[in-house]
């Protein structure tokens, strides 16, 4: 017996009218799948924004480039931290922690992940061995 659900071609969508081929909820009807997709989209969008901001800010304000030499006068420390590092990854790190507090603490849904069927799988493996 296989408990696997049939994977559609698009990981986040089932084609209109397509019935699931296994006795598990269809993906659109599965709140865990719907919530997981929505949360994944938000997380990946946030990751992209953080990546773009941190790398772009650091490059334009904290990187020595041809025609843009930097020296001790350009450090401009804030709390002892070079200005570009302070705004480029220290402050974003703290803001990111705040976002995570909101997202994980208040936004993410609590879903029922279902019953553990490890016993059934184990029985299947034993049965297969006994039959074989």
């Amino acid at each position: 017996m296989s408990r696997a659900e049939t994977p559609p071609s698009d990981p986040c969508r089932v084609a209109e009218g397509q019935a699931p081929r296994s006795p598990v909820p269809g993906r659109r009807d599965d709140p865990v799948f719907v919530h997981a997709c929505r949360e994944a989209i938000i997380i990946l969008s946030f990751w992209l924004a953080v990546t773009v901001y941190c790398c772009a800010y650091s490059y334009f304000f904290g990187y020595i480039r041809p025609g843009r030499p930097l020296g001790p006068d350009d450090v401009r420390p804030i709390l002892g931290i070079p200005s570009w590092a302070f705004w480029g990854f220290v402050v974003p790190w703290l803001l990111c922690a705040l976002f995570t507090v909101w997202f994980a603490g208040f936004y993410m849904a609590d879903d029922d992940l279902g019953d553990d069927r490890a016993g059934e799988l184990d029985a299947d493996i034993r049965q297969g061995g006994a039959d074989g």
Binding site: R3, A4, P7, V24, V32, F33, A36, E39, A40, I43, L44, F46, W47, V50, T51, C54, C55, S58, G62, Y63, I64, P69, L70, G71, D74, V75, P77, L79, G80, I81, P82, W84, A85, F89, W93, L94, C96, A97, T100, V101, F103, A104, G105, M108, A109, D110, D111, D112, L113, G114, D115, D116, R117, A118, L121, I125, R126, G129, A130, G132
Partner: protein, 388 residues
């Protein structure tokens, strides 16, 4: 590494031995908890899917020997740009645990999977995929284990009394082998294999939690000591620029182009996105108790990363003015600890990298063992074997 200053005092060795004993004790307690024949494999390899938020967060922290040995060396050598190198850890808990966590948790319950190959095989209905997953995981994790064993042996070596290696060499008739290293390797291997094999997943998890707390404590002790000794971060930064050039305060880094911007973008992908496929993290996603646990583990891990990595950057920038011109930058962590802390506290702080290595090894060992037991022995050789 020159061990002078460490092997002269028993403090660090005592701290590591105490640390080792606590880890072994946790293994024994975990074994008692795992007892019973019903569902033994699920308990042994997955802790009965009962991990709480604190355990998931601290054991998914992906700390390793590199966190406390390699990373400090990079900060000391190349300066502030190493902060950008590790900066994606600010968002990694969200991506690594949040993107796939719920679905892996759901599918592992629905399919009954207790190992990653189980999950792939049942989810996609493909025994071949399951077998390939098993082979790939066992091969790459085994290769990954080698440097971890080496790091553990090196740390033990530098805290062993100098005469221990002399005795060993004499008893063995001399030779060119590094006796202290071999003793360190033997002690490290015996400890980590013993508590992992005896206590299973729960032992690895509990020792991970214990070790992560020791790591955090070590960093929090070292941070004020380093700030006070360095004369402040701004002073340390200017000192670093004097020693290593302007790149110490700016990108792409001192001495050479350590972190060009293209590489910086790559590392935001590597830590935060490819980390989702890290086997030891995926196993934890099969083992958490419920989705509420997952939410809180993301939150705790984000705070833990901020608490560990931001201070580590500050500490090892400051190290430039405390220990200027160190030729072997890999030694900066133990040397700074010896310089700043009394020997007993030094032992506690040195237990941090040792614990990081131990937790990495125990996690990897368990995944390799589960692959051999479940995916090779039970699936192919003796499906009807009893669970114990």
């Amino acid at each position: 590494m020159d061990s002078s200053g460490l092997s002269d005092h028993p403090g660090p060795l005592l701290a590591l031995l105490l640390f080792t004993l606590v880890s072994l004790a946790l293994g024994v307690v975990a074994n008692l908890t795992t007892g019973g024949k019903v569902g033994f494999l699920r308990k042994y390899f997955l802790g009965n899917r009962s991990l709480g938020a604190f355990a998931v967060a601290l054991t998914a922290a992906v700390m390793s020997g590199g966190t406390f040995m390699g990373f400090p060396s990079l900060v000391y050598s190349f300066g502030w740009v190493v902060g950008l190198w590790i900066a994606s850890y600010m968002v990694a808990p969200l991506t690594v645990l949040g993107v796939l966590g719920k679905r892996i948790g759901q599918l592992s319950r629905r399919t009954g999977a207790i190992t990653l190959p189980d999950l792939f095989r049942e989810r996609y209905g493909s025994p071949v995929l399951g077998f390939l997953t098993s082979l790939l995981i066992m091969f790459f994790l085994t290769v990954n284990l080698i440097p971890q064993f080496k790091a553990g042996a090196l740390i033990m070596k530098i805290v062993l009394p100098a005469n221990a290696s002399t005795l060993f060499t004499t008893a063995g008739g001399g030779g060119s082998t590094d006796a202290a290293y071999l003793i360190g390797l033997a002690i490290f291997t015996a400890t980590v294999v013993a508590y992992t094999a005896y206590g299973g997943f729960l032992a690895a998890i509990w020792t991970d939690v214990f070790q992560s707390l020791v790591m955090a404590l070590g960093v929090l002790i070292l941070f004020p000591l380093a700030m006070a000794a360095s004369g402040g971060l701004a002073h340390a930064t200017l000192t670093g620029m004097d020693q290593a050039g302007p790149g110490f305060a700016f990108g792409p880094g001192a001495g050479r182009d350590f972190h060009p911007i293209g590489l910086a973008v790559s590392f935001f992908v590597m830590w935060a996105i490819t980390g989702m496929g890290q086997p030891s993290t995926m196993v934890r996603l099969m083992a958490f108790r419920d989705s509420r646990t997952l939410r809180y583990s993301i939150l705790y891990l984000t705070l833990y990363n901020a608490l560990i990595y931001i201070p580590l950057i500050f500490i090892f920038v400051a190290a430039r003015s405390i220990l200027p011109g160190l030729s072997e930058s890999d030694e900066i962590m133990p040397r700074l600890v010896i310089k700043l802390a009394n020997p007993h506290v030094a032992g506690l702080i040195l237990a941090a990298p040792y614990g990081a290595v131990m937790s990495t090894v125990s996690g990897f060992l368990l995944i390799v063992a589960s692959g051999l037991v479940r995916d090779v022995y039970q699936r192919f050789l003796r499906p009807t074997a009893t669970e114990r």
